[in-house]
Symmetry: D4
Subunit: 233 residues, 8 copies
């Protein structure tokens, strides 16, 4: 039988090539989205990180199997299970810039909120995480107002009606990064309903990212709250 994985006739293929230049250019760690990669691909990328990377790396959406693949090559990395993240090096940098506050509308939105919080922390920001502050219980939102108003960026993870970012954006001067989650009944359409709510916020100041994209939300918040490198006007 001639079936085999190594195709001797295939054209040669360039090595996996992490975009280290981008990392340096933009000043943020590289991220490796694991869930669309095979464990073997994750392992090979981790090996390359060990050998060549000059900065930090985050492995996002890393389930047990892919996390193990990364840890096999980077044994001093840290696996944060509740956020499905592997971070390397294991400790976040010393914080700089402003505070990032992350709100989770419900318990079910917590994994996405955690991914955002950890990402912002490993990108160098101070962070706070607050859980279960949906709009159906307004007093809980209002009870956190003082904290919210000290943030330089607020991340809100919400599924179902996705209404919380509108309410928060009406209360604080900072930008609100809204991350819809895929939590909900049928007509939530896997998070599309919450996504649309957020895009249509009647309060300005809402920055929307993709469904369940806690990493992207945390990254954007970290950029917004970054220490100012350019002088003010």
């Amino acid at each position: 039988m001639t079936g085999d994985r190594t195709d001797p006739l295939a054209p040669p293929l360039a090595d996996f090539d992490l975009d280290h230049a981008r990392t340096l250019r933009r000043g943020y760690p590289e991220a490796v989205l694991c869930d669309a990669k095979t464990p073997d691909q994750v392992r090979r990328i981790a090996a390359e990180c060990r050998e060549r990377a000059t900065g930090a790396v985050l492995f996002t959406r890393a389930d047990e199997e892919r996390a193990a693949a990364a840890l096999a090559e980077l044994p001093d990395a840290r696996h944060l299970l509740e956020a499905d993240l592997v971070v390397w090096p294991p400790h976040p940098p010393a914080p700089s810039g402003g505070l990032v506050v992350v709100l989770s509308a419900g318990t079910s939105d917590l994994p996405v909120a955690r991914e955002a919080e950890v990402t912002a922390r490993y990108l160098g920001r101070r962070t706070e995480l607050v859980v279960d502050v949906g709009v159906a219980g307004l007093h809980r939102v209002l009870g956190h107002l003082e904290l919210l108003r000290t943030a330089r960026a607020v991340v809100v993870a919400a599924g179902m009606d996705g209404a919380l970012p509108s309410v928060v954006a009406g209360l604080v001067p900072s930008p609100v990064v809204a991350v819809p989650t895929s939590v909900g009944y049928g007509a939530s359409l896997g998070g599309i309903a919450a996504l649309l709510t957020m895009l249509n916020s009647c309060a300005p100041g809402v920055a929307v990212v993709n469904i369940d994209n806690g990493y992207g939300a945390g990254h954007l918040a970290a950029q917004i709250a970054a220490p100012t490198s350019q002088p003010d006007a």
Copy 2:
């Protein structure tokens, strides 16, 4: 030329046949949705109402031309321009049942809110109308709490993010009738975004009706707030 509107070979067609039986059976006025009818069809239906109807009639979505057609046959009807409604007879019945409070999230949602308010009033309920209480300005919602808690049904008309019904439903014991409006930027999708938000409300007690369907919202609220005809358990 043989082209003509009256087709001599067409099979005979039954008269327009308003469903008077339903009116009697359900105890509510008949409604005639005008915008998908020609002015001539509206006029003929109005004439039939005059001759045969035993109860009240509402002509909804009646623009100037269709309202004039109805008034030509029912000269004592009342035309409420801001709600695009023609009502006949011109005065609402004496109120019975509970209070219906109608909230308009923004000025742009006002025509739909008015249609709901007038419909509930002409179906026999006491009504209140409150304008411009969007979630981006929470203190305005909270300022009306006392009124909201005396209502037996609350109608909320909201476009854009459609988040107001969730917030209100978390604050009051009565059912909230949520009517999405087609107000908003591109991703509001003509009201679909607000509709989905409302269907995914994280607070229970939200009854959703069709986009811009102020008549339906007012009718449903009037039914909910109707005087109790059946004995309690």
Copy 3:
């Protein structure tokens, strides 16, 4: 290996915080939507209920594993398997208000219909459940007319064409709470087709809730049929 679930560097996280205030404020039991939570989260919430809750709690969408988690902390709770509900305390309150009739269009819609029926019953209403009354067999609908007309709220669970609520709303004076189910062939789009049908009902008086949301339907019906606390006009 440093991968671990407890992240020593994470910011402190507030306790799970059931919205007991809302329960008291609105007068209805708290509900815990289980299917987007881990069994451990369900268990911790159940423990908190036992220690602090002053009123009833419903655990919805509780599969075997999550139901067991709730019962581990609340051993006198009742698990109603066919409705995927855990209720605590185990007995519904004495009924008050009007009758809620729940119709299931087909056998396949029965789990959603049951969830609505049990919810309304545990919120304090008298209930009746009628099965397999789809519009393709009109005589079955008509055979229940007398019962339907004594209801103060009718819940209709229907998938496929979702046409039953329109037919029922044309026959009864009470509001009809329409809950689309995800039952059907490809173009049912997981319940979207039935949802749209219900939103476009040609009979007024149809209150739509989310797909498969039997809990929401039962809750709304219980609110509509609640004993009147506010005086009539």
Copy 4:
């Protein structure tokens, strides 16, 4: 200025070429969908019909201007304004085959229903047209049962919830041709809601055609009710 409509460098273009062969092969008149054609194109096609056609022609979706263009070349054609049809020759053939009954759920669905009825008549069937028999007034449907059961094909035009074909298909042995109309509020999505309802009919025997396609519905019904040319089994 060199801008001109006749492009001297363009490749030669074949004449418009009505598919007369198909007409003969299938035994039904040719149809010319006018609304996506310029009046001049309609006129040229009409001229070609006059010179070459051996059978009948229907010009569908013919507004005043396009109808005039057709009549300019075919002065003995008949313009049926309420169905936006021009038919040539002006009289339908002697009827053969079974009866086609056309139902219009509401007054607003009437233009589509008329187009279906006229098409079936000009394809050689006996026809009946019944108006305003929506499911919200079931007794009206039931009042036409005897007529419906003598039909060999029933066409149902319905917008909004599109529920009527399901109800009718549960009552009659003949196939029901369901034609959704674009009548309705926002979430009718221009007829998509009714289309989905019909495709998901819980009664078998519903043949669905495109939104507002009265011509297609009438043609299909005429084929179903055609006299039997092939022997029975």
Copy 5:
């Protein structure tokens, strides 16, 4: 522990109630859609059929487990595995009416085509089944023209582009029942692409049913090809 499946406080529930009246009224066997029912529900319905049914029954979408449930109560039923059907009684009636030809565009559309063919056969029609006649190989369609032109109804099952029904409808005088299948790459959208193609057929005479609904297609074809009970015009 009080969790149990039998809820002693639940209201009494009517028996499963097959619509035998409809069967008699419309003259066709009853069908039981199995895939949304539990095996136990299927078994109970089969038992009821055995005890009370006067005519034939088809169990559609019956996987191994549900088929076994039906056969446990109806041991002389026939299980046709490739069509996922259980038929009872096991033999189709003597054929009457016209011929039904079923085309399967590709091998992958075969299960749906088989379901249609068997359904039409058990509803009393002569049938022919032809496989793998997609439009990409036109000569295969043309090679079956003679057979197609003797049919009184043609069923076409096609996924991917869903173009075959248009081509066939342009070649035959009989109605074409088009059943889209969920076969295809991503943008086939689970059959929606093929469904839309069929609804937009540029040839009239195409009757569309739901995605993968081979039963519905076969039933509709059997109705179209039924022996004529009403006299011709």
Copy 6:
């Protein structure tokens, strides 16, 4: 005739109530979205601004008629026609915070880009506007790299493929505010295609706002580039 605009029986309605509190609380001007309001409503709001507002006001989506209505009450306001904005007071505040650079992918995206640029300027930021830098001509993007890297926030307005924000976000350290425009052929779906592209950006750091929402994009950018009020970590 009793038809009239003033409905003597209507319940009293609260005055229009600009949310001045929010303005003060969040520190940004109030905005009035004009296109969903009547000119008369715009005029009344402008009058209220004149009498009571303590800060600046932007009238967005102000066509000629609505702009005139605003200017009638606020004659010293400025009408910026190419951005459809009326600003009051007429001069922007002295700039503070960082630089906001606005990119317009094509000439057709310019109105949205201008609306963003003017908004950011009137919210107190220094701004630069660069036109016609689509990804199909990469050298044009690259030619502006130096400017882009000095920005504290970059706004990118793009229709069609919406690919520009991804490319820019890969090149700069600042957050990129992506505003999709409704420019494009059929499958652009009125901006939905560009919106989805932006939400799926393969580079992190992209903050998405609603289609054609130049105001929202400029507001968000101004917030991101605001002078830092809270101390760094």
Copy 7:
């Protein structure tokens, strides 16, 4: 009044900057999509072309007003009205490469087909245009087989079911460029249905472009049929 179109405070804006470099780099004329530009913008771009362009320019989607604006600056340009194109210089280059055959499925698809044909001709290819060859009349497709097989690229413009490209791709060895048109009834969804059909073609070799994008189709076909500049393998 200070409202004016020239905003003295606006940042300076770079000139319109046609991408002449791209033209030279890729070897094809520049195109200016007019329908999303103001006539004034079109005129200014035309002036810039006259002064600086070294190659040809096509103004696509140029209605009467925009065409006049282009001709005002480029008086020797040619306006091809039926394709809504202005071409400059007025004559196409001498043809090179292979033949491009353009098929229009129906008369209504002709404007898009013409735009494709003219574009390919002005990009330097020999072209043929064939009209009204829909799949409902297969013999017309088959009658052009010899011509189709001599083409190096075939463009097929089709609305409604969009089935023609699949059929053609099964018959010819060359790539088929499929351009869906927005022609059709409701469920054609403005061309989305035809677009999906083409993407799901069961014959390989179909290259899909955007709805109504005749320019893009002609451009792609011209590239495919270009004279070979690189040596064969």
Copy 8:
């Protein structure tokens, strides 16, 4: 028990009938899409290939089980696991025509890119495969410019934002075959977002195929880069 897979009453069914005529007519190998077929169907088709086929065959989407079924009948076939392809005969033909370059935007898009590369190679083209060149790292795209400009067709496989084909098409004179992949977060909609991006490319010259359809992309590219059989103009 009468349940059985072979239905003795079923009409006889024609053999599977590979379209060998098409293969010869178009000059390309036959392809068998395996994932919608049972292993047994694959085996029977492979047997038929062995006995009758005159040319090459590709089995696409062949998982382990289906590949084994094919190899059981064609033991000298080659199984290329990373592309899920079985090819027979095992060696590609000697290359002819121009070069096909395949780009994979990310590691996750690699399986689709491989399928395209292998398909083009087995259809007789020279190929090159380049990995991980997403638009977020522009320098990687630019680093391959020389190779890209020698290609006669470029295939780009990209998920997420799908922006790479637009960028490439702006840089090369050859057609770009864009194949969207289903890689991405929630709002990627299983590849629909990337598909729309590609259809809306602001650079002409992009030929779009179905989501994840690497086979179709490779086939189209092979046709575009085929040796010229027809003379140039």
